[in-house]
Amino acid sequence: MSGEINLPIYMDYASTTPVDPRVAKKISDHLTLDGNFGNPASRSHKFGWKAEEAVEEARSHVANLVNCDPREIVWTSGATEADNLAIKGIANFYQQNGKHIITSKIEHKAVLDPCRQLERDGFEVTYLEPNEGGLITPEAVLSAIREDTILISIMHINNELGTINDLGSIGKIAREKGIFFHVDAAQSTGKIAIDLNSLPVDLMSFSAHKTYGPKGIGALFVRRKPRVRIEAQIHGGGHERGMRSGTLPTHQIVGMGEAFRIAKEEMESDKLRIQSLHSKFYESISQIEEIYVNGDVDNKVSNILNISFAYVEGESLIMALKDIAVSSGSACTSASLEPSYVLRALGRKDELASSSIRFSFGRFTTEEDVDYTLTLINHAVDRLRELSPLWEMYLDGIDLDTVDWQTH
């Protein structure tokens, strides 16, 4: 079986995706002297005009995928910058209206860290708890709203769990209360349909590299009707209607445009294929004793599956699965020695949080990849449990919560 398979197997698409070869071709057409290399801001010659044309075409592809006006798309260096621009941009522009922001504990750091920065600047931030299934409920949002709330920032799909928040209901509440609503949608594009024409969302962040585009490019949707204004965070040249200065990287922009064009075209077929891989994977892995799926299985995308393998520690599991590239909420993989803050927010015990693995599939995942991964997981979990004193105690019927552990 391994004869046909390239090892290690990439099961970490939620962290980044390879660039689609069609996208790579488009990028390379916009770099060299014989390509479309000009500065899109150059008004005085054909090189500039052609580059501008390519940038605008790409903008339309991005807008098409999420059903908005191309003029509502602002290029950024990625979703992190888009999140920063949205959150700080709204906070800075509208601070005379209030200094309270609502977000959640399971946001990406690209949302949490700008919020922390605003707290240092005198803003107050409420960090909502998710429910057990990893979802932020509209009720939780509603109950956190104050007179001085100016912004709600809630992610669409959680990057660790794959859970999907109800943007329609949260946005409706925000609209009724006259509060701006920002959504980090880095994980969404090409996975589920987004219709900004009907969704009550004011700002939305996108990333190219999670959707088979290049790294280093993203976009922020800034609604025109009703108009949303933001204060620029990067100044110099007034590009992107003053919202984000800096020479536009034509090659990356056309890469993102092409990636999003393909995403629109192939979303349905990609989705069906990945759903069937997910079913196969999920059914098989459910046969393993004492595993826990993290996040609401009925409210998640099928390209991400986060599982805790009880009585096995996450980092050792990743080491035992060296032929599979996955990511872990484990303590030891990061320098901070902290279990995943997302899993802890769900109320998972530390030991379950640190025995979690995130598997994420994508466009180039094959059925053989899934089969091989399942074989390796079964083997590794068996071996590590044979080695685990906790598994032995579990089999002996000992309740681990009653043991007087010697913490160190």
Partner: protein, 134 residues
């Protein structure tokens, strides 16, 4: 992960050939068995070490060792390394084993020193348990 080849090899050998690498258990009630269990699930590692001794007068020699470890790769490698150091030693000699011996043998990165400390604690506790039974 900044692990040395030694940690990786030790880890892989241990999980691939558990019997050869002394993974297992003795009956803790046996009089010639000493058991030590240290760490906590919430901290990410638990080591259980058991020694089986033979006594000649006042000298007790470690004849066999079994262990089980829940923890990161270096925790598993550290306990497996410790097992190698113990077999054939007298209890007096085993008491002399320090965590730094394991650090050096496996070239543990600084962030993983606590794994070796845990291993040292596990043998101390196993010896204590054994001596109480005598």
């Amino acid at each position: 992960m900044a692990y040395s080849k030694k940690v990786v090899d030790k880890f892989e050998n241990t999980i691939n050939e558990p019997a050869k690498y002394n993974v297992g258990r003795f009956d803790p009630k046996e009089m010639n068995v000493g058991t030590g269990m240290v760490g906590a699930p919430a901290c990410g590692d638990v080591m259980k070490l058991q020694i089986k001794c033979e006594s000649k007068g006042n000298t007790h020699v470690i004849k066999d060792v079994k262990f089980k470890t829940y923890g990161c790769g270096s925790a598993i490698a550290s306990s497996s390394e410790l097992v190698d150091m113990l077999i054939g030693k007298t209890l007096e000699e085993a008491k002399e084993i320090k965590n730094i011996d394991i650090v050096e043998a496996l070239e543990l990165p600084p962030i993983k020193i606590h794994c070796s400390v845990l291993a040292e604690d596990s043998i101390k506790q196993a010896i204590e348990d054994y001596e109480q039974k005598q």
